[in-house]
């Protein structure tokens, strides 16, 4: 049986592009209206959108590297989907540009009057200054672009003319990717989100964002994979056992996120040092306290029990609902990270939500759909020439 018999190409429907474009435009319009009203608030909304897009895109690159490194079989049929979704990391530049023009609106460390007032922030100036920030942002995007080329584009080419030893070189790049990824995603998390509160210290914040990012990427890939599989875009040989592993990984990373989030809280709560507690003080006062408690259930409690049993992981229908839930839990998590900083800056007591904040997930979803259509158009949706492809379709638990 040749690989083409295992998988027949079915072009993506243009409905997807229309859907994506409409949703993106709605999101962009919402954000635009928000910008017209309050540039600061709209910028905070865009930070959430940026962090979501990087989560999904960069997290997908991580999933690809992980597959090569551990030599996983089950995920090979879905790798092409992950490779396409990884393009969101590049497209996130679109969201970064309006932000880069309005950096002074969001980052208090860019306001000299504040720097003088706070000697701790002033001491961080060698890291937190505009030039170095821009340098880091550019390097981070270059790194994402480079690995998008290495993992995704090389794999796309593989479909047309297979190269010998493709897996081996990819695995080597994956090994290089891991430490680079660890540093880059930490820097991204610190630069865009943690520095919203420049006084704050937390050494685990990068890992926190990483845990959430992998969850978000997994959720998006799972959702797309199950939807495509159900509508006959993927091989008929895929079984529930393949999808089961998405559930298992999401379960693992749900626990990992809870572990990291709790560790960050426990250590800061226990040591009780003002430079560290201030961030949690913002999130445990007044209405924010309720939102913080909700986060525990939304991002940990509910996915945990929803994914705990074996049947729930083996049932693609349920898995897709949980994947959507986890994606929105990550949206909520980003809001929980960014929102209080805006409220504090704007002198508000509690949380605010409106066009500016809602635009973030809408733009993200729209852009993912558009990117998926544009990149995936005319390509095989499964890596048919992968050495492991045939074997991976036979995978069972």
């Amino acid at each position: 049986m040749s690989n083409t018999e295992l998988y027949t190409k079915k072009p993506l429907p243009s409905k997807l592009l229309i859907f994506g474009a409409v949703v993106t435009l709605i999101g962009a319009a919402m954000s635009g209206i928000a910008f017209a009203g309050d540039v600061q608030r709209a910028s905070f909304g865009l930070i959430m959108a940026l962090m979501l897009l990087i989560s999904v895109g960069f997290g997908s690159l991580f999933l690809i590297a992980l597959e090569y490194l551990v030599g996983a079989d089950w995920s090979v049929p879905f790798r092409r989907i992950t490779e396409i979704v990884a393009a969101t990391s590049i497209i996130s530049i679109l969201v970064a540009i309006p932000l880069l023009l309005n950096l002074h609106e969001v980052f208090t460390w860019l306001r000299p009057e504040l720097l003088q007032a706070d000697k701790y922030v002033a001491k961080k100036a060698p890291y937190l200054n505009e030039t170095f920030f821009l340098v880091r942002v550019i390097i981070a995007f270059l790194i994402m672009a480079a690995f998008y080329y290495i993992f995704s584009i090389r794999s796309f080419k593989q479909d047309l003319n297979p190269t010998e030893g493709f897996r081996k070189t990819s695995a080597k790049f994956a090994a290089l990717f891991m430490p680079v990824f660890a540093i880059t995603i930490s820097v991204i998390a610190m630069d865009w989100m943690m520095s919203l509160n420049p006084k704050w210290f937390s050494t685990i914040y990068g890992v926190y964002y990483f845990a959430g990012s992998v969850l978000a990427a997994l959720a998006v890939v799972t959702f797309i994979a199950i939807t495509l599989g159900e509508n006959g875009y993927l091989s008929k040989k895929l079984s529930n056992d393949h999808y089961y592993n998405f559930g298992a990984l999401m379960f693992a990373f749900t626990n990992f996120w809870a572990y990291i989030a709790f560790s960050q809280f426990l250590l800061i709560w226990y040591a009780n040092i003002p430079d560290e507690t201030l961030w949690f003080m913002d999130r445990t006062q007044g209405e924010w306290m309720i939102l913080s408690l909700i986060l525990i259930f939304v991002k940990f409690g509910i996915p945990y029990f929803a994914l705990l049993t074996r049947p729930s992981k083996g049932n693609p229908f349920r898995l897709r609902i949980i994947a959507a839930w986890i994606f929105f839990a990550h949206v909520y998590d980003m809001y929980w990270n960014v929102g209080p900083e805006y409220s504090k800056l704007a002198g508000l007591k509690g949380p605010v939500y409106g066009l500016a904040e809602l635009a973030a997930p809408i733009i993200t979803i729209g852009l993912i759909a558009v990117v998926f259509y544009l990149v995936g158009k005319g390509k095989n949706l499964m890596p048919v020439n992968d050495a492991k492809f045939k074997k991976s379709l036979d995978f069972h638990l």
């Binding site: 056992d241 709790f262 809280f265 426990l266 709560w269 226990y270 009780n272 049993t309 074996r310 069972h396 638990l397």
Partner: protein, 385 residues
Amino acid sequence: MEEKILHSVTGIFETPDDIIKAAKGVSSAGYKKYDIHTPYPVHGMDKAMKLPWSPLGYVALVLGLTGASLAILLMWWTMSVDYPIVIGGKPLFALPAFIPVTFELTVLSASIGTVLAMIIFLFKFPNTSHPLHDTPYIKKVSSDKYGVSIEASDKMFDLNKAKDFLHKLGAKDIEEIYWDNEELNTVKTIWDKKFLGGLVMIAIIVGGGTYFAINKLVYMTPFNWMMEQPRLDAQSVPVYFNDGFSMRQPVEGTVARGWMPYLITDADTAQLSDAKYMNPVPPTEFNLNKGQRNYNVFCSPCHDYHGTGVSRLKAANKQDFPNPPSLHSAKLRGWSDARIYHVITKGQNTMPSYALQITPEERWQIVHYVRTLQRAMNAKPEDVK
């Protein structure tokens, strides 16, 4: 040959794919009591054997929840009820701090409990033997072959049919496995006297051995780092500071906590009548009672319970300790409180200082009591009214 009871029929397969096919075949043929043996876990076996969901998950859930609640209960009781100590300014019931321990206990009791439940209920501990043991079949399937055994206790079992069936599935080395008579005749339960006795023996030996090993063989001083730390030994040269001290000197004029230096000497007692040396302790009932108690303890042996100066000390051992003067003399009644305080603190001639035994507050309380005694002995006319 004596009559033997058949346990099962076994067949050997060569590859994991074959055994999956065989498992599917046996389960769809309707056999219920059969088993598959493989040298390592073969993926997809559960489904091929149509195994129902294992109930062990529920055991783990219940035990995990038990462990979690026990942990919380233990910490709540010890930390907030039985021996409440404020640690790091945290509340007595500091939930975040309890979560790691709760998590550990959940995992621990769930995993240990599940393994025990599996051994006791599913493996029917202490029954450790099985007819398949010590057969050529089990030797093969535990090294490099895969095997099926169909048990004779299955409802639809028929020896020849089963053999034919295995043959059709492609099995090799089809064998009949018989019960060992000894296995059949010995019934093992947990309540077996020998087994329980063995458990007790093991407990005693392990407990005793551990006690001996830890307390005698490898005894280690607990917390010896205070002894091991760099310190100044007598007759040795201090190494930490160049000035020859092993500790830093306190800042000039430093006063120890709760202690005030008493600078007045016998030479300048005259100033003690000054108003600024007033008795700082109010003459409340509580203070008088304490004064009385301490006077009776410390002063009465020499000064008598009423301050008359008839010394019990002298009466007791007839030694040459002088009787002290009466505390009711006009001189003493004219003294200020601080002057009496001074005598207690510094002593006077043969009377020793009580500064070490009696705290300043207690001294002032005693002074109040002495005043009460004086007043009682020298009542003014208006006191009698």
